[in-house]
Subunit: 414 residues, 2 copies
């Protein structure tokens, strides 16, 4: 099927979906969860075809792991849909009401975005996950997964479509682009007439490609060059566990810490003890000259290091003379994702919270908490690193827009 027809079908589906009651959407989500479980064998068969192809193409272990499905992962997808069914429906929630002096009564209420496009890489679980969130927020979704996962994605989408259709909502609420030709993806990114927003989920390269080629509005997600700054008045016994957690608890994620900024007076107290702790995880340290005065055997850090999201057991260290210097350094190198100050000085904490330009700014806590579940949103479609529309963890609310409804009794403009 060509991409324009898919856009038209999605646009038609969005009108049906925005009228669909929460109960009906929840029922469909719960049935979809059941159907994923009962279709385990078909899904795993399809997944085995993707894995075989990946192995034949020499795909590396990490990628193969992301691609692979098994009983637990299918159960987890189903559980994800069940959890989404339990969340409050954001659609039609009244955000504000006001009456004008001329008697017009204005209400601002949440409405679905309409049609959301998701462009992602090789994790097949994104297929169910993105569908669930978009669907609950009243949106039709067009999915474009990585070609590596095409059989798995087709199998999952087919299950979802059948359930949604059976529940009396059109199955065009969820469509998968199966044509892997690049020209099709390019056309998808320019379907402003049918697609209201595109959300890329994946690595920096994918996100850059979508931002550069799309004329449809995009929500940038993901890249996280997160910093922790240890201030002059920091409690070192608090600092070390936070840094270790943020660096090592999970390395391949956008809210992991990539760079440490240290007040020069804290070097002696912090760095040797920290280096010892990090060596337990085999973390490689790359430091500036002042760092290397204390940690004499670490690799020198280049300016490029400060701009790198390692996603690995590597930590860069920069020494500064003040909280102001720390803020300037971080604002220069961060990706506007998550940054943290460790301090007992409330004035410096407030300064840092106010002046760091990032979606999430922390005092005395691990950056790993930047996450829709940890924030209590009950779900997450991604972490926005742009300032338009949504910033930080995006849950169901962030998948909606709003409209104004205005009630009058004959008012005309003088």
């Amino acid at each position: 099927m060509d991409i324009i027809s898919m856009g038209q079908k999605a646009a038609a589906a969005k009108y049906m979906l925005q009228k669909t009651a929460s109960e009906q959407k929840n029922k469909a989500l719960l049935e979809a969860a059941e159907a994923l479980c009962s279709s385990e064998e078909e899904i795993l068969t399809a997944n085995r075809a993707d894995i075989a192809q990946g192995e034949a193409n020499g795909m590396h272990m990490g990628m193969l792991d992301r691609l692979r499905l098994n009983h637990e992962r299918i159960e987890a997808m189903a559980d994800g849909l069940r959890q989404i069914a339990l969340l409050e429906d954001p659609v039609n929630k009244v955000l504000e009401t006001f009456e004008r002096p001329n008697g017009l009564y204005i209400e601002k209420r949440r409405v679905p975005m309409g049609v959301i496009g998701i462009i992602y890489e090789s994790r097949p679980n994104v297929t169910a996950d993105a569908f669930g969130l978009c669907f609950k927020a009243g949106n039709a979704v067009i999915l474009k997964g990585g070609s590596d996962a095409i059989h798995s994605n087709q199998a999952i989408t087919s299950v979802l479509r059948k359930v949604v259709g059976k529940c009396g909502i059109t199955e065009d609420c969820v469509q998968l682009i199966t044509d892997t030709d690049r020209s099709v993806t390019n056309a998808f990114m320019k379907m402003n007439e049918y697609v209201d927003v595109l959300i890329p989920r994946g690595g920096a390269g994918l996100i850059r490609a979508v931002v550069e080629n799309s004329t449809v509005p995009v929500i940038e997600t993901g890249t996280g060059n997160c910093h922790i700054y240890v201030d002059k008045d920091a409690d070192i016994t608090m600092a070390i566990p936070i840094i270790c957690n943020a660096k090592t608890q999970r390395i391949g994620v956008c809210n992991a810490c990539e760079s440490l900024v240290v007040h020069e007076d804290m070097r002696q107290g912090l760095l040797p003890a920290l280096a010892m702790k990090l060596s337990e995880y085999n973390v490689e340290i790359r430091g500036d000259e002042q760092t290397r005065e204390i940690l004499t055997d670490v690799i020198p850090a280049t300016p490029e290091d400060y701009g790198t999201e390692y996603l690995d057991y590597i930590l860069s260290i920069k020494t500064v003379k003040s909280v102001e210097d720390a803020i300037d350094h971080i604002n220069q190198y961060n990706t506007k994702h998550s940054d943290c100050i460790i301090t007992d000085n409330m004035e410096n904490a407030e300064k840092f919270l106010n002046e760091i330009d990032a979606a999430c700014v922390y005092v005395n806590a691990s950056t790993r908490f930047t996450d829709g579940f940890e924030f209590g949103f009950g779900a997450e479609i991604g972490i926005s690193t742009q300032k338009l529309h949504a910033r930080g963890p995006m849950g169901l609310n962030e998948l909606t827009s709003y409209k104004y409804t205005i009630k009058g009794y004959g008012q005309i403009r003088p």
Copy 2:
């Protein structure tokens, strides 16, 4: 000066501006208003150069009128800045707070966007207006006005920069791109590193060009193919004044009515009386077959008519059999701006409010009220017709983003 340096200066200015207190911003706005008035002669001299060039290039009357400044228009610009000074500062307003079971205290608060780019056409008053709104919301602004108005824009920007500098805030808060080469505008639209959002203000052609060429996030504004639907149970004595107001009170604006949708049972009661009233304004009517059964001498309407924002004394008419048909027709042809139902049937009114996909949906009032001032926002940078970030009239709040600040006492992620 090259565009990259302008981006860097704006990015540096944004950090200063986001720390600037409301009082200081308001003082600068009031002084800028005074300075515009006291620089009237320089501004008018510059404007005369633009007008002379426009006349020499054969610019048409309407364009010349938009370009022309005079004492009253400069006073109006100054008044605009004074009004913005009176508005509540949106920056740092706390939108939400929540505490997580692990003790993390999360606050969501408004912050400036950062750097806003405005691309506009030949109205020089946009220069002061856009500066005032962006500045009050804590944003640095880079302006790219039409080359027709270059002397006027330079004169106005020069006044604004001097005042802002004198008030102890960097003058780089407001910069004007003076190089009229298209390659510069193209580079401006791809400065994702320095510009957080672009807002085009002008005709459909300008907006399309920005959407198609920009990699910086864009807020689409402006195009309004607005509909009024007269339902079966409408009060005709209410319908006629609303339609006349929405069509004729000001024709060249995005919230003017361009198309009338009529329930077939209302044709006989409504159309002859309406046509008589509209003939007082020399409004040309283009109708479908069912309309022309009643108004036998009107021009036939083509599907293209239904998709046209005339911005002129022209009204298309479409007949429908039901409110459902009206909703389908409007959702097919509208530009998601403003649409209205005239009815005494509350069930149909609710259906219309729920199902029309537009920024502003009216019951029994003129579409001309879609306006930041009419909504009570005290200002307006434009009317968004997209769903991402802002929809409908955009005031100061819509020129901000938000951030999360998270306070802990050593929490790490298990």
